[in-house]
């Protein structure tokens, strides 16, 4: 997990699985990798910019938590993919979804015979 993207994924996964908010030190300790705290802070601030992570500024050191659960993000994404989130047609090119259900069913019966 040397890449920044890989680190972001690991940190996000940690925050999703954690019941409480974590400080940068907590994150580093739980990652179990030989990382500088500054690296972890960089990753956390990138995630904050992507609005994936919320920072609690009232405490010292700052504590971080996920803005939404893994499931909520998945649902948000799937809604975009399936076009159920309003006008999203131009955002994605889809393999499915352009076929009406009734026709897909007929196709399945046809392929089955």
């Amino acid at each position: 997990m040397a890449t920044l993207g890989g680190l972001e994924r690991s940190v996000m996964s940690l925050l999703w699985d954690s019941a409480e908010s974590l400080s940068a030190n907590d994150v580093r300790d739980r990652l179990g990798e030989d990382l500088a705290v500054t690296t972890v802070l960089t990753v956390l601030s990138r995630l904050e910019r992507k609005e994936m992570v919320r920072r609690e500024r009232s405490t010292r050191p700052h504590r971080y938590s996920a803005t939404a659960s893994r499931e909520e993000h998945t649902v948000e994404m799937l809604n975009e993919v399936l076009g159920t989130a309003g006008d999203r047609e131009a955002v994605l090119a889809r393999f499915i979804g352009t076929i009406p259900d009734s026709e897909a069913a007929a196709l399945r019966r046809l392929l089955q015979n």
């Binding site: 994924r9 992507k50 090119a93 499915i96 352009t98 076929i99 897909a104 015979n113």
Partner: protein, 360 residues
């Protein structure tokens, strides 16, 4: 100038209402989707230009004999604030109104295009960020991510796998080709055979390679700018359909029709249907090519297997053009017909432009 304005208005009206309605259902789109795509793009461009320039040319009428000369005259009069000249030229308030209308309409169309572009880009970036965090890149650990599809790792190297049981495949265009992401769900990997999955990935790659997101962008913007015009909806739906046909054709260059159709049927299916289909045998060829079916037909797999007339009934139920052309591939357009389509597209773009620059 009045005649030119009338011609442009007539063209704008034609391209706004009857032409998209006819083209939406035109049978030739299944035969040569790229030609239909070319025509749609030309219609969007020519429709926008004629809609904006018709009132402009009318409004410029009293100011000169050609569009460029009249336009520079107007700009000159505006700079000097010469009101007396307006009376001398016989300018009616209607002319001023038409010029304002043209500027507003043109600004509205361009601004909507720009806003749509920015908005779509933002949504894509957001989606890409979330995908990268939620899914597993195939590249990281091929064996663990792909499981039984490890032999496809060359094709799937830059794909992301989303842990979700719904069978999904889609692509997210990035700013550069390398920044694009193909997303496959765990459900899809579980449902499809390696050959079917290969067809899906080739379909998605074609979307990205042919930059279909640029082809749909103008129509998305056109729809957002004038949603009350029923034909902008036609245009958007038609172009989306054409990109799917083109991507299917791209997939068919390296994969069989059967694999693509099975992948389509399975990835659109609810879980109960998927089990049924998975138990069936690999005899798609029978329903697709009746001549081969005579030799290929083995024992029927299921107790409720239907007769050939049942197949006909089912295939009549399928009216989606994209599926129809996969089930019974139509011949591509003949050369003269293709020439006609390309010529019309070129004329749509060039004739109004030439008339505006050169004509009187």
């Amino acid at each position: 100038m009045t005649l030119l304005a009338a011609c442009l208005a007539a063209l704008a009206l034609m391209l706004a209402i009857p032409v998209p309605r006819l083209l939406r259902e035109a049978e030739f789109r299944s035969r040569s989707p790229w030609a239909a795509m070319l025509l749609w793009q030309a219609i969007a461009l020519a429709g926008g230009v004629s809609m904006v320039s018709a009132p402009m040319v009318y409004g410029l009428g009293p100011f000169g004999d050609s569009v460029p000369a009249a336009a520079s005259k107007v700009l000159g009069l505006m700079a000097t604030a010469d009101f007396a000249a307006l009376t001398d030229l016989g300018v009616h308030p209607g002319h001023i109104f038409a010029l304002c209308l043209s500027v507003l309409l043109g600004g509205h169309l361009l601004l909507t295009l720009l806003l749509t572009y920015v908005r779509v880009l933002g949504q894509r970036r957001r989606h890409r960020d979330v995908v990268r965090l939620l899914s597993t890149p195939v590249d990281g650990n091929r064996a663990a991510v792909l499981g039984r599809h490890l032999n496809l790792s060359a094709e799937l190297g830059d794909a992301h796998v989303l842990e979700h049981e719904a069978p999904l495949a889609y692509c997210l265009p990035g700013r550069t080709h390398a920044g694009s992401v193909t997303v496959l769900s765990r459900g899809l990997l579980n449902q499809l055979s390696a050959a079917e999955l290969g067809a899906v990935v080739a379909h998605e790659k074609t979307h990205l390679q042919q930059r279909h997101h640029f082809l749909t962008m103008a129509f998305e913007a056109w729809y957002r700018a004038l949603p009350w015009l029923p034909t902008t909806r036609h245009g958007r739906a038609a172009v989306t359909e054409l990109t799917e046909m083109l991507a299917d054709d791209g997939a068919l260059r390296a994969h069989t029709r059967q694999d693509l159709l099975r992948a389509l049927a399975l990835s659109s299916a609810g879980p109960d249907h998927q089990d049924v289909l998975r138990e069936g045998t690999q005899t798609v060829a029978e329903s697709l090519a009746p001549a081969e079916a005579e030799t290929a037909r083995g024992p029927e797999p299921g107790p409720d297997a239907e007769s050939t007339s049942g197949d006909d009934a089912e295939s009549r139920l399928i009216t989606t053009a994209r599926l129809r052309r996969l089930l019974a591939p139509p011949a591509p357009l003949s050369r003269p017909a293709l020439g006609g389509v390309i010529g019309s597209a070129a004329a749509l773009v060039l004739v109004p432009a030439a008339a505006l620059l050169l004509g009187a």
